[in-house]
Amino acid sequence: MSRKSRPATVRSTSLQATPLERTRRKRNIFSYVALLPAALLVLGLMVLPIGATVWHSFTNWDGVNSTFIGLKNFELIFHNPIIYQVLLNSLIFLISVPLILVASLIAAVLVYEKVLGWRVFRFLFFIPMVLSPVIVGVLFSTFFLPGGAVDQVLRVFGLGNFSWLGNPWSARVVVILALVWASFGFGMVVLLSAMSTVDTALYDAAAIDGASWWRRLRSITIPMISGSLQFLSVINVIYTFTSLFAFVYVITAGGPGFSTTTVDYYTYITTFENGQFGYGAALALLLFLIVLTLTIAQVKLFPNREVQQGS
């Protein structure tokens, strides 16, 4: 703080003592005024609602009247067998995280080889990222309709029509495929950005020592970008729990049964379709606690400078 104000000091000593104080006060006023739009919006439309959700998770709330019922909502949650199914689904969907990491890594490493047209590939790989999960989801569900594109390809191999979305496991596979396809472009960009900071002298030295391409990938590239891999892992775990709503909504609507219903989708149904707002608030809070626990666990599991510095 003092370092920055020094030039102003030099200037104001030639005048009087008061202008300096005035700049300091003005500077403070500016910083508060400048923060005001962001602060008001975030406070009013995020912090207050979060507080309201916390409060209402202890109430029986139909959207109009609410009565305090203590921990009853949470008790109901833990006695609801569907919750365990839904949690299990989210855990199953976590399979997508390593798949996204591997796909992103493959794309990034291959693009980084800078073969003919690599810029074009980089441009193309990003296309899924700009499409809405709704569009990706509808596309994938179209491909996997009985007798749809995938079945027609399989017919060549003598396999018949299969109800992909009518079977719990294959429905999950479709959701996971859509998710991986939609997400690897972002992962690739994050990894490419990390790889561009790796000192090329390392590769040259390794090449002189006769290290193979695989060896260089394993011993230089991956360790040097481990911070970004961890970042992607954290982000995608959060995403799997909190943002599969659109995919599930258009691909399976949570079915068959509850086999592809995620926590966020289930909260949506109980809240906005069944009007159980207090119960929904408790579910939403539970979702937040799960995400928080998983994020802390990942940061602790891989103690890494980059994430802890918050760079």
Binding site: G63, L110, V115, G148
Partner: protein, 273 residues
């Protein structure tokens, strides 16, 4: 990786991934121009004759064009507001001395990881209670607020790269903080700000959850809920569905194609984290 064979292998793999990302677009485009019968006979390959009947069917059954307008009506002001508020906040957090700046910043970051439903649930009730359901204003402000923490986070790392000496020099010249923001930070930080603006646009345009909950009347519905419901109504008529998907994707695709140079560079320069 010097040999010709291995480079060929890399190229082939890249081509395969590239086909997987482009083919769905081609699939949408080609099949939107087929009739339903032609689609059922042959969903691949090139159409023998083009038909635009799916597009007229789309426009006559759902107010598709209006839904695009509704989306633009919400997304454009929200993107401008969010990017402006985030830029100002990021400027304060990086260049202007402020008490508790770090505390404020980290609080914002915590809020960023909050699942959307935690925030939206009471807002939905409040919006309905005050009779503002299916009104664009709450949607615009809620989208703005939800995108501010991420925008601020990204722009903070961006503005950090601007040397403090530039700001100090302007201070010595007697420029006010607001002037420094307008004349120094905005021009230098422009690529980062544009990247964040595009990301915010994609976030809001592509979102289903908030638009579905807040704007569900036919005369306010945005494009993603319209598309999501289209898939329920038209699973039997894939060409109409594909026409809708393609038109719904077009604004984001155009934005990406038009700005790819700046956008990709911005993303690569570490703007995303």
């Amino acid at each position: 990786m010097r040999s010709r064979i291995s480079r060929g292998l890399v190229f082939t793999t890249l081509c395969l991934i590239g086909v997987s990302t482009v083919y769905p677009l081609v699939f949408m485009a080609v099949n939107s121009m087929r009739t339903t019968q032609a689609f059922e006979l042959n969903p691949f390959g090139l159409p023998t004759h083009l038909s635009l009947s799916s597009y007229s069917a789309l426009f006559s059954t759902v107010p598709f064009f209006q839904s695009i307008l509704h989306s633009l009506f919400v997304v454009v002001p929200a993107v401008i507001l969010a990017t402006f508020a985030s830029s100002l906040a990021a400027f304060v957090f990086t260049k202007v001395p402020i008490k508790l700046g770090n505390v404020l910043f980290w609080t914002m970051l915590m809020i960023m990881f909050m699942p959307g439903i935690v925030v939206l649930l009471p807002l939905y009730v409040e919006v309905a209670r005050t009779g503002l359901a299916n009104n664009f204003a709450p949607a615009i402000f809620i989208y703005t607020a939800i995108n501010i923490p991420y925008g601020t986070y990204l722009l903070r790392s961006n503005f950090r790269a601007i040397p403090d000496s530039v700001v100090e020099a302007a201070r010595v010249d007697g420029a006010s903080w607001f002037k420094i923001f307008l004349r120094v930070i905005l021009p230098i930080g422009k690529p980062g700000i544009i990247t964040v603006g595009i990301l915010t646009f994609l976030n809001i345009w592509n979102d289903l959850f908030i638009s579905l909950v807040l704007l569900h009347a036919p005369n306010t519905e945005m494009v993603t809920p319209t598309l999501a419901q289209l898939s329920g109504k038209y699973t039997s008529n894939i060409p109409v569905l594909m026409a809708g998907l393609l038109l719904g994707a077009l604004p984001t695709l155009i934005l990406y194609f038009a700005t790819a140079r700046v956008f990709i560079r911005g993303m690569l320069s570490g703007a995303v984290r």
